[in-house]
Each structure stands twice: as C-alpha cells, then as structure tokens.
Symmetry: C2
Subunit: 669 residues, 2 copies
C-alpha cells in the first residue's frame, strides 16, 4: 500500500516539482517569538491560530475592518485584499491576516491586540429591580420543591429505587407520571441513601395544564428548608454585551447581576460578520464555545456575588434559566447554523426553540435545569425584542407608542394593545463602547457625561464611581459628540474641526482626534480621545436607528409626532441625556416628557418570564402578534439612513430645538 | 503563594523526613520495558494502569482469583493478601497486582496476559430467525417513515424552518404535536435545503395511544424509497457475551448477527466482581466505556456484514435499539452505580429504565434513536429473563414449564400462563468458554463435541467449521466432561484419575490435566487441555444451575418430574447434547423429548420487542407477573448446591440413566 502511494508521488527529474511545500511562519507578539510550519496557501490568520495566537477579526474575516493587520518583517505574502491599508502601510509590510496567503518562509510582527473580550470588570452599575407585587411562587412558577419520605427497602420489599420514588410521588404529591433522565438515575441510589430515604425533589410541571405530570430536575438528600432560595437565571445575550441576573425563584428577588462583553466580539462585531465567521469555520462550534464561556463565567461571578445565609451558591444549583437574545445570538448559542439568516429571503431555522436542559445547551447549571430560549419573530427581530415589548408594557399600551432598542442592532416596535409592527437595522456596537478606540462598557471608570466649554474647548466630565477615567461609555459618547458638535469641535459632517484653536484637536494615528482626558488624568496614563473613525461609527449607529423608526412610522402611516410615548431600551438607556441624544439626531426632536428610558428591557423581560408562566405565555402571544417589516426590501430606508448620517440630520428643520441651540451658541461666541 | 507552599514543605535537619516519597516502578511486558514514578502506597495495579499496562482482574480486584499475579524481579512490595499464591510463587517474587503496595523502587515482570476480551472473531454460528408471520410494519412499529413536501420560503413567507416543518406535519400527516432535539435543529436548515424542501422524516409515535404526538428521530434530504430498510438493532448484553442483531424494521428480517465477549470481562468474570471493581474505580465509568466499546464495535461489524442493494449501511442509520441484559449489565451500561445490587437487601436503582436515545446511552447509532432498555424483575432477574420468557412462550404455556437460562448467571423460571416464579444463582462463565484455560466462544475453530474411547482413553472431536481446533466451547466442555467421567478419566469428585493409563493424563501448570488435542493438531501449535481448575469451574456452574431449579420447584411445591417441558436458553443452547448434559448433572434425568433448546432467548425476546409494541408491552406484563424467590435467604439452596458439586450428583438415584451408563461401561472394560 505504502509503495503504491510512493509511486504516485514519485518525481522524475523532468517532472515539475510538487507545489505543496512547507514554510516556516515566525510570529512575534508581546516580544515573545513562536513559529509554525504550514503548507503553501495557508491563510495567515489560520497560521496564527495554529501558533496559538489570537488575532481579533471584528468583521469576521471578510477583510473589511482592517483590524487584523500584521507586519511582515521578513519574506513576503500574497495579499488577496488590502482594503483599509494605506500605501505607506503596505510599504511598511502590513498585511491583513484574514486576506493574506503564505507562500514562503516569513516572519510576522503582531501588533498588540485589542483585548476587548477580556476586560472582565466588576459591574457597579446595576439595574434596580422590583419584584412584581403579585408574585406568588406557588402559583406563578413552573418549578416546585417537594419533600418526600420513602419506606426503606427490605428483604420483604425489594422494589427498585426509581419505582419506590415514583410511588412516593404518587401517594405524597398526587403526581402520577414522572420522567427522569439517565443522569439523575446515576445519582438516585446515592441521594436516597445519603438522605436516609428522606429527600427533596425539584420538579418541573406544566402550568396550568397537567398537574399530574412532572419532570424530575434534581434530587437532593434530606428535607431542604422550604423557604431556602431556589436559583434561577435570566440571561440576555446581546451581540456586544451579555447580561445575567441570578434570581431567587421563591421570593422573586434578583440577588446578583453581572454583565460582560460577548466573547464572540473577537470574531465579528455585528451579527452578519459572526454568521460569516461561523460558516467559514466549521459551522459555529467556536462561536458557541465563546458565548458559552461568557455566560458560564457570568454565572459563576453572579453566584459569588450572592451573600446567602444558606451558604455558598454554585452554578449547578441553578434549576431554571430563561434566555433572551436576537435570532443570530440564539442560533449561535445553540450551535444551529445561521447562514440562512443573512441570505435572502432571510430565514431562521427556529424562532421558537423547544424547551431544553442545561446539559442540552451547555450551561454549567444543573444538568436537568429547565432552559427556556424565548421566542423571536424573524431573522432580525428576536427574543430580545419580544421580551423587551413585554417588560416595557408596550403590548398593553392604550395609545400608539414607539419602542426603541438601542444596541448593536437597532430594533423598533410601534403599536399599542391592538397592533404591533416591527423592523430592524444594524447599528453596530458603538453605543456599547465597542468599535470606539477608548470606548468601554458603563462600569466603574467610564466617562458617562461630558461638557465642553464653548470658548476654550476644554472639557469637563463625570466618571462612574469617581476616580480616574478608563474610557468612555455609550452615554458619555453621545454626550461628547453632542457637545463637540454644538461647540464646533466637529462639524455637521462629523469632521473634527482643524481650525479649532485648541491643543486638544490634533492629528492622531487614526486621523484627526479630540483629547477628552490627558494621560496624567487617566487611569492608564494614556490620553483618552475620540477619533474621526469613532465619530463615523457613532454616526452610522444613530443614523440607522433614526432611519429605522422613521421609515417604520411612515410605512404604517403614523406620523412620528403623534406617538404618545417613546420607550427606550438598551443597557446604557437609563443614563442617557435626552437633550444630547436629540442634538446628535439619535432621538426625534419632541417634548422630552414623552421619552422613557427603561435600561436593558430584554433581560427584564427574561426575568419576568422566568418568574411567571403567564408572563411567559404573553411573550409567545407578542411574538405571534408582531408584524415584521423587512427594511432591506425597502429603498426608503437607505435614503433615510443617508440623510441621517449628519449632525443632527441633513434636514435641520426636523430638529428645531437643535437649530435653536446652535443659534444661541453662535451668539455666545 | 509558591513561597508559602515551599515553606510548608521545608524540612529542617532534625525534622523527620516526609513519608510520601516517589518510587520508580519499571515494568517488563512482552520484552518491552516501561516505567512510571509513583508515590509510596500506590497499588501495583494502579501503577501498571498509569504505565499503560492492562493487567486483567477477573475477580474485580478482590484478590480472589490470582490472575493478576506479576513477578517482582527487583526490590520488594508490601503484600496485603497472597491468596492463590503458593509458597514457591512467593519465593519466586510473585505478587498480586491488586493486593500489593509500592514501598520502594521495584522492577516488575508482567507475564503474558489472557487477552480474552480481544479475541474478536468472525461468528460463523448464527441463529436462524423467522420473522413472525403476522409482522406488519405499519401496525406493529412505533417508528415511522414519512415523506414531506414543504413550500419554500420567500420574502412573502419568512416562516422559520422548524415552524414550516411542523405545518407540513400537521397538514400532510395529521401530526399536531412534534418534538425535536437541538441536535436535529442543528442539521434541519441544511437538510431542508439539500432536499430542495422535500424530505424524509423518521418519527416515533406512541402506539397505539396518541397518533397525533410524535418525536422527530431523523430528517433526511429527498424522499427515500418507502420500501428501503429502516435499521433497528436487538442487543443482549450478557455478562460474558454480547450479542447484536441488525434488523430491517420494514420487513422484520434479521439482516446481520454479531457476538463477542463483553469487554468488561477483564475487570471481573461475574457480576459481583464487576460491581466491586466499578465501585472501587470511580463509579463505573470504565465499565460503561468497556461495554459501549463492545456494543459499538459489534454494531459496526453487523453493518459491514449486511449486503444491501441500497448501499453501505452505517451505525448512524440505526434508529431504534432494544436492549436486554441482566440488571447489573443494564446498570453498568447506563453508568448507574450498581453497589446496592450486591448488598442486602439487594436493591437495583431501576428495573424499568425510562425510554432513552442513542446519545443518552452512548451508542454510535442515530443520536436520537429510540433506545429501549427492557424491564427486569429484581437485582438478579433482569431483562434477559423477561425477554427470554417472552421468546420461549412460557408465559402462554398451558402446562407447568421450566425455563432455564444457562449463562454466567443461572436463572430459572417455573410457571405457565397463570403464574410465574423465578430465582437466580451465579454459575460463572465456564459454559461460555471463559474461566477455562482453553475455553472459547462457539465460533469457527471451537471443539463442540468430544468422544473418548473407554479402552484407550484417546479422544476424537468435532470442530465448528472444520479445520484445526483453537479451543473448546461450552457444548464441547459438557461433552468432554461427560465422556471423561463415563470413561473414568475423571472421578465423581472431578479429580483427574492419576491411575488412568494414558499419556494424555499428566501433571500441568494448573494441576492435573487431560490433553484433548496435541500441539501438532491444534491451530496454535500448543496442546489443548482441560485442567482440574477448569473442571472445578464447570462443576460449580452446573451445580448452581441444578440447585437453582430444584430448590425453586421445591419452594412452590411442584415436583420437577411433573413439569411438562424444560425450555433451555443460553447462547450455546442449541448445540448441547442432552445425554451429556444429563450425565454431568446439569439437567434433570427425565425423558429427553421434554427438553427444548432455544439458543439465546434474550436476544430473541429483544428482537420481538423491537419489532412489535404489543410484544414489548407483554414483556412489561411478564416483569409485573413474575414472583421473585430470593435464594440467598434460603439455606436449602446452599445444601442443594453442595450436593450437586459431584458428577452427576451425590445422590446417584436421582440420575438412573447415568447409573445405567456407568454400569454398562464397567461391564465393557
């Protein structure tokens, strides 16, 4: 056999040499060298991966973002694309790792990587949550805690453990049909004997239908205190930020909160980039792993944050989890290929996933925990929106109300208790502090508000938690952009004004920039700036959101001005300054009393659904009732988006209060 | 941190040296040396395991069998027990790996290991199976194949794949409620598009109850031929032998058979040894892995043996499996701790496991395949017996009938269509060719019958498949023992007769032995013998079975002679010679016409249950109806067993035909 293989590959002196050759690729990162040997035509990004070097690919490896640029210091590579590289960059040997092909021995310098996914911070900004006044565990919950006392076996009664337990359920709790996983059978014998035939069972029942059928979730030795917490978790998987609440299902109280960037960011900043990356890299296994790592680390963190008199809380005590997130996030979490979401006619595999277990999903919760992935409406209107509509109360509103979810995707819902229409657009992660050089999440050390003196152009700012600033969060960016615009630091096109007479306006590595905090004031010792590129990202984000709701309102023939209320969801929502948001043209110019900022409506909706099966059923109803308007099929969206790419808008007459402010500032100067 | 650890471990000149030291253990096996470093007090068997050396432990590491003896060639070990080692053995450095403790640097010689679990043979002895005459796939099966044609999605119909599929099920097959695993959701999008919205679904329905509820087992692109096979598997997990049949569920035909020693044998020859080994080694993970490897390799083998015009059959096409086996085998397969089975009051965790999937169990079948582990009765009367009773027809018998399952465990059922009583005893694996020096399974090369000339004491024999003998199978051992007894080669106590004037009777490594085939006649070139130890094992096996059914009959007050029929199950059953079996006292001395040999009744019962839900329900009924008699609580069993440890029995009057045969031989000589 070997011989014939050799024969096939044998070369004569006259035959051309085989083209598949091996090359050495040496990498230098953080002064540490490492090398791998790869065949001709290997993608540089794959070679780096082989060498254990993680090169961020915010656009998912499409060659669009330029963030995976590395420097070829010896040898040369074949460049498929050089988008985002300047001629000087190319002369200096820069190449995009996702677009460059190994053709010979080379040495590569890897610039310090943006470690956005690793900034695990202690969240100080927590949502205030009130337990619904009518919450009554025994009526609202689908999970129950039961005490059972079994007759011990003897030579006269050799009934097996499982049948013995079923009998106790029947006689002591009128449960006739009980199902059980093999995992629970594995520990059943031990638990029954450890508890000396007294045990606590955690079960799931079908509320309100069949009370005689149940599924066993967990079995614990001895009779637990019936008022001890039963742990549940409400989870919102945002494209940029994952938020997790740990809830005591008995009292309904949120006992801990935790949030963190979604670990998938390093492989794409928006949903489309992630879908492309997943499809190119073996169907999404890495994407699934990355978000599971984020969720599981948040779960562990939240457990540690609980101060429970009953002792340490561990993830495996979590017996129920309710998950909201957009449709792409839900597919990637479950390992379901998401390619059809981005290709016309934009179809998900599943909008309403079946009920699953912790084991099915890969959560480090109790293996048999009920995991309820909430239902979405369409490819770009997911469970984050249906749960947001629930928690905002929009579906019960008497008057026409607008609901905006300001996140990486900008979704809009318009309606009242009789009808609901919805649309979506891709805003990008700028408002969550990602895709902005000094952006960060709204945690300790983030600049959350900025004022610029219109004479000196000197800024003052407020930092979350006080102390030295580390970066700028979403509300800070809106505030900064608005102030910069009103004071003339940037013009209506978003250009940093070169004529501004301030040392804070300067030429930086990413084009012109404005310095918000000098190095000696900041936590890292380096200047905190906003650049032309950052401003572009913010403009695109706000334009997409603005275009979304205006086009939707036009579509259904409801003048925007006639909406009773504008409900705004999004993790940074509660801290936004309305005036500033209007000044940059993110929100429509209307009476401020009509705006309501609700914070993360998605995780709130997941929390309500976690607590109460009636709320959970309402989300299903909401998903059924919503009419989805596909903006990609609509030319008017693109027009509205382009018009909104200015500060505040090409048509200033739509923003009379902003026009007035500009006028007054001009007088001031 | 490191520093404090160093400090704790720091030694002063005056302090006693720490007792946990590291030692080098060097092993030599098959002339290949290897070494590991282990701490003081490591068990020698564990050190060998660390070194990647597999030392067989037929008694499960209890120090009872003496089969893990190794030779200490340098240094010394601490011996906890030396049972089964002679003073000469100990002098030569022999030690039991499962009972010896490392105390210093040592060198170990590992004698060649019995590789019983690796004798993967091509089975030539296949059961003849007739498809039940009334088998009609569409009525009898719980699985169905359905064709579906979906409307492709469009911009006007953006319904998700899963909802679209559910609609097709409702409209095209009146299935209102369909459940689906996340695993199937992962491939759903691809399959629907690959099949261009025409697909074949494999579903499980509840027969005969709810036809509107179904579970999705598999989804395949395009419309499959509706007469193409649907693959199922009937599996019997014996303590010694695992048997697997591959069945076309459409026609009901058994299309391939495969059998092999259970891979767990290396860790214990009987169920008690295996339970002990599993409990000592982290709860049975290794035991589960070993039997899964056996089953999965049989599944692959059976698939390869099918000649299907529809192309290659692969294990993942198997959509349903029905498994029979004794209660310990079922627990170990499912990874459920089995310790309570061997401790009074002898309780299983589960007699009737819930319905599971291929993925739950770990079979390399379709991940969502229906896996049905049949119900047992008690710790020592498992699903192998309930399915055996079904396939033997005992539960419908008009007259009192005795059913014997001759395997590693000897189970007996006595009864008719009105009542059933059962008991069990541990026979050991001798009748399956294990625990006997030259024993083997009834495959190609096995001596299946032996005749000994009463004058010359020279044997003649018949080999399965012709050719040179490799060993002796169960029926051959019975035949050999009977002939040796009748001709006086062994006496009634099982001792090899030293006075017999034949070069075939000699002193061997394991005591006195009789040579059945000289090296020049055998396949391996080495003598094939039966030893005193082998005979002891055979005597214990036959005595346990004989004592079991006699005590059971006494218990219910039915004279054995009045039973209408004696049905005999066990893989070697069909090839047994009744006369010989009576002569050694395995079977009662009654009219031969009353014996019926049925072969492996357990796998046959599993096959019937696999095909027909009504047969499956009958097994549940049988399990409920059977009354279990616990022999361990019964002194009369031990007495009956001891009396039966002779050839044919201490009381020859119970075996008049044997007395007559002995008499006639005496006259002959």
């Amino acid at each position: 056999m070997l011989r014939s293989a050799c024969f096939v590959g044998r070369q004569t002196e006259h035959a051309p040499r085989t083209k598949v050759m091996q090359h050495t690729v040496s990498f230098t990162l953080d002064d540490k060298p490492t090398a791998v040997i790869v065949p001709t035509n290997t993608l540089l990004a794959d070679a780096a991966h082989l060498a254990g070097i993680d090169i961020g690919q915010p656009c998912g490896g499409q060659g669009r973002c330029g963030r995976c640029a590395v420097q070829v210091t010896e040898g040369s590579v074949k460049r498929r694309s050089t988008l985002r590289l300047s001629p000087v960059d190319i002369e200096q040997g820069y190449a995009l790792a996702c677009q460059s092909i190994v053709e010979g021995d080379i040495a590569i310098y890897v610039p310090p990587q943006e470690k956005i996914e690793r900034r695990l911070t202690t969240d100080r900004v927590v949502a205030e949550v009130t337990v619904p006044a009518d919450y009554e565990y025994s009526f609202a919950q689908t999970v129950r805690r039961l005490h059972l006392t079994l007759n011990p076996p003897s030579m006269d009664d050799q009934t097996d453990d499982w049948a013995r337990l079923q009998t106790a359920f029947r006689l002591q709790h009128q449960i006739e049909r009980l199902t059980c996983s093999v995992g629970l059978l594995r520990k059943m014998g031990y638990v029954l004997r450890e508890g000396d035939w007294k045990v606590t069972a955690i079960i799931e029942t079908n509320q309100p239908a069949d009370q005689m059928t149940a599924r066993l979730i967990d079995l614990r030795p001895s009779h637990e205190d019936e008022y001890a917490p039963l742990w549940g978790s409400a989870i919102d998987i945002g494209t940029t930020t994952v938020t997790l609440w740990l809830v005591d299902l008995v009292t309904g109280q949120v006992r801990a909160q935790a949030a963190e960037y979604n670990g998938q960011i390093a492989r794409g900043e928006d949903v489309v980039s992630r879908i492309i990356f997943a499809a190119k890299n073996g169907g999404g296994g890495e994407m699934r792993q990355r978000v599971l790592e984020t969720i599981n680390s948040l779960l562990e963190l939240a457990c540690k944050r609980v101060k429970s008199p009953q002792g340490k809380v561990t993830p495996d005590q979590v017996i129920k989890a309710t998950i909201a997130g957009n449709s792409t996030m839900m597919h990637l979490l479950l390992g379901i290929p998401a390619s059809s979401i981005r290709l016309s006619p934009f179809i998900t595999t599943v909008n309403h996933p079946p009920s699953m277990t912790g084991r099915d999903v890969g959560l480090n919760a109790c293996p048999e925990a009920v995991v309820d992935c909430l239902p979405g409406v369409a490819s770009y209107v997911g469970a984050d929106i249906t749960s947001g509509v629930l928690s905002s109360g929009l579906d019960g509103a008497e008057n026409v109300t607008l609901f905006l979810d300001v996140g990486t995707n900008g979704e809009t819902v318009l309606g009242n208790r009789d009808w609901l229409v919805t649309c979506a657009c891709s805003a990008g992660p700028a408002f969550e502090g990602a895709g902005v050089v000094n952006g960060m999440r709204a945690t300790q050390g983030a600049i959350e508000e900025v004022w610029i003196n219109s004479e000196t152009l000197e800024p003052t700012y407020r930092v979350i938690g006080g102390g030295k600033p580390k970066g700028i969060c979403g509300s800070g960016l809106i505030s900064l952009l608005s102030e910069a615009f009103i004071t003339g630091v940037v013009d209506k096109g978003g250009n940093v004004n070169v004529a501004a007479s301030s040392s804070r306006v300067r030429e930086g590595a990413h084009g012109r920039e404005y310095v918000v905090a000098w190095g000696h004031e900041s936590d890292s010792g380096e200047d905190i700036v906003i650049t032309r590129v950052d401003i572009d990202n913010l403009l695109r984000a706000k334009a997409a959101i603005y275009a979304g709701f205006t086009v939707l309102a036009e579509n259904v023939g409801i003048p925007l001005e006639t909406t009773d209320k504008v409900l705004i969801g999004g993790s940074f929502g509660k801290y936004i300054n309305v005036e500033k948001a209007v000044q940059i043209g993110l929100l429509p110019d209307m009476d401020w009393s009509r705006f309501e900022f609700l914070g993360n409506t998605s995780v709130k909706g997941a929390y309500l659904a976690l607590l109460d099966w009636r709320k959970r059923e309402r989300i299903t109803e909401i998903a059924k009732r919503m009419t989805y308007v596909e903006l990609s099929a609509d030319n008017s969206f693109y027009e509205a988006f382009t018009s909104a790419l200015f500060l505040p808008h090409t048509d200033l007459s739509k923003f009379p209060s902003v026009a007035e402010a500009l006028e007054s500032k001009k007088v001031d100067r």
